[in-house]
Structure formats: C-alpha cells, structure tokens
C-alpha cells in the first residue's frame, strides 16, 4: 500500500492508503473531517470542493495518493480560534444557505474565485461558481454573500497593509 504524507488544514499526516481511496473519503473516514460532504458520483455538484496547493479541486475526483506531498485546505481549516472566516460569516449573515449541504463546497470555490479576482461582479461570481450546485437557495443570497465577503476581505487587507 502506498504511503502518503499530506498536510491538511495545517497539520501533517502520514498514512498508508489503498490506491483507490478517494481524497474525500480519506478526509472524512480517516481524518474525521466530515465538514466536506459528497453529493454525487459524477464530478458535477462541487459539494466536495477543497483547495489543493491553493487551487480548488473536487476531492471526489482526486485520489488520496495524488495528494501526497500536497497541502489541502478544507472548510474545517478556515476559522481561527473559533472565529468564522469572513466568507463563512458572510454566508451566515446573507442567509446564503438553507439545508447547508452545498455550503462547504460553495465557500471553498468562492475563496478560489477571490484569489483570482478580489472584486468580482455578480456575473463573474455566477461564472466562478458554475461548478457548484445548490438545490435550495436559488443562488441569489450566495452571490450576495460572496460580494459582501469580497468587500470585507479587501477592507481587512487594507487595514493590514496601511
């Protein structure tokens, strides 16, 4: 069985894994990080989105062995000292979720979007999140939350640099 060394949410793990083990199953079943859900078998829904070396990936479509030597960030790695990340806070305040199943993936994909475009328009947000499906909200409040988080995060960045 191959042995992998992978950093997840800032902690390094070393594990023997079966080659067929999906990254999402490794996160959930081996590390107990059940914050990342699975919504489909076809790489369509985006519920399982995490960051791998800073880029969004659908963790149901990456093998755990492929994460060897990489750094993974899940929804569980965003908050600091019990404080929600500004993106999580914005989803909360804008009511950007109902059942919440899509939310971890939406938030990770939204962070990937802001990495490339700190001030996206509504259209750019919709396009940036096209790989993430929500059966509940109709997306309106999700778009609003990402706009709000973008403003908050740019505001915070200014405070730090000034």
């Amino acid at each position: 069985m191959p042995r992998i060394k992978v950093e997840v949410d800032g902690v390094t793990y070393e594990d023997d894994v079966e080659p067929r083990l999906l990254l999402v199953h490794y996160l959930r079943d081996r590390l107990g990080k059940v914050g990342t859900p699975i919504g489909c078998d076809t790489t369509n829904c985006g519920a399982c989105t995490v960051l791998m070396d800073g880029l969004s990936v659908k963790s149901c479509s990456v093998l755990a062995v492929q994460a060897d030597g990489r750094a993974i960030t899940t929804i569980e790695g965003l908050g600091i000292d019990g404080q929600l990340h500004p993106m999580q806070q914005a989803f909360h305040e804008e009511h950007a979720l109902q059942c919440g199943y899509c939310t971890p993936g939406m938030i990770m994909a939204s962070l990937d979007l802001l990495r490339e475009n700190a001030d996206p328009s509504e259209d750019e947000i919709r396009e940036g999140l096209e790989g993430n499906l929500c059966r509940c909200t109709g997306y309106q409040n999700i778009v609003r939350a990402v706009r709000r988080a973008a403003d908050d995060m740019r505001g915070a960045a200014k405070e730090v640099t000034s």
Partner: protein, 282 residues
Amino acid sequence: MIPAEFSYVRPSTVDEAVAALSGAGEDAKVLAGGQSLMPLLRLRLALPEVLVDLDRVDEMREIRDEGDNVFIGAMATHYNVIRDPLVPALVAKTTATVADPAVRHRGTFGGSLAHADPAGDLPAVMLALDATMVARSPRGSRDIPAADFFVDYLTSALEPDELLVGVRVPKLGDDWGFHYEKFHRTAQSWAVVGVAAAVQRSNGTVGAARIGLTNMGPYPIRASAVESAASGGPASADAFRSAAEAAAEATDPPSDLNGSADYRRHLARVLTARALTAAATV
C-alpha cells in the same frame, strides 16, 4: 461509489510512463487529470487493473514555442492553457468554455483529446487548426494528424500502449481571426453543438476558412462544404449566413435529452454563421 481495486504506478518521466504502460498489459489505463476517468471508475464503468498516473510527469506539462508551431504538453491543465500567452487564441478561448474552475484546475489538454468525447470542445479546434498529435510507445514516437486522430465515439487512434505526449498546434498569421461558438443549456454543461472557426481575411474578402464542428457526429467533423463556399467570397455576415447553410452536410448528429438530430442540424447552421462572423470580426 468507491472504485474497484487497481494497482497504481506513478512515473516521473515520459520514458518511465511509456515503460509502465506497456509493462502493465491489456487492462492498464492512463490517469491524467481524472476529470473524466474518476467518475467512470466511481461508477465502475471503467475497471482497469493498473492506473499509470501522469500527475508527476512534469515534462509533459510544458508549453513551448517551436517556431511555426506551439507545442502543448498533454498534461498542461486547462487552467494553464488559458493563462499561457504562447497558446493560440482559439485554443485558449475555447478552453475557457470547458467545464468549471475546479475541473479546469485538474483536467488536462491531452486528456480531453485522448478521451475523444464527441461533446468535448477541444477536438473540433484541433481539427480546424490541423494540429498534430504526438504519441509515444515502446516502438518510438509517431505523429498523428488531427484528421486521423478522432476515430469513433470515445475512441482515438492511440494504441492501448501509446501515450499522447503533446500536440503541435500550427501558428496562423495576424490575418487570421478565430472564434468558438458554443451552445449549451446551463452553466458547466457540455456543448449541444459547438463550432470552431478560423478565418483569413484580406481586404474584405475571405482568403481561407476552417471550421470544426463539435457534437455533430461520433467524432468532430470538418465543415468542408462551408469552407469552400466561404473562401474567396466577401467577409460579410450575409455571405457567411448563406455559406453556413451547408454546415449540416455530411454530419451525423445524435438525438438525446439535449436536442434532436434535426435541432442540432439547425444549430450547426446558425452557430456556424455566428462563428464565421465573429472570427472575421465583421
């Protein structure tokens, strides 16, 4: 679902990958970005005994200038293809319409050609640009013109022990314009029909036109009748509309949930006129 068991090899050079693939026998498969293969494994529609993972074959990710051509390594991700200034405009623009950001971070240029999905966007572009696929096997290196590469539904001309190493895409001069017109129903979706067009303009007339059609048959199809009708004529929207009347000739479009064959023939005509007009910027 969980994929069936397989054994796993992770080469770090092309030579190692070729050796691993040929040594692994009949039931081996190459894993590139996994964005088409992983769902097939999870649904157990593919049951390989060995997976040869190209993820760490860095030399296959390279995109380089070769004078008259740009060589795009098979493992260049969609994400990198879109951002590399060397990549010809039609390829970059089309790749930006593929899937969604997370899929584009993993999915590869070569994977989307080797997979030979009739609804895939890049095969029609390779056909329109007369690109050359470069394959490697224990028997050596072989060039396969795009026109011979897409053989049938999900079937390329690659032998089971052959690796697609990269693609030589010819550079076209400044007098060429490009456009990919994709019709799809929702975000993230595959093309119902897509049209890749390259048009050479000189003083208001069309020097040459090249058109590749996506999803108008089991493999991408060159709209030769439209190309000859448009060539030598005026570069005007009217002329393109009448040339595009021939767009569905010699096609064999599927009927499925997204549209009937007749609807696709209609789309091919409309989208071809739009693609030519946009490519010629008239």
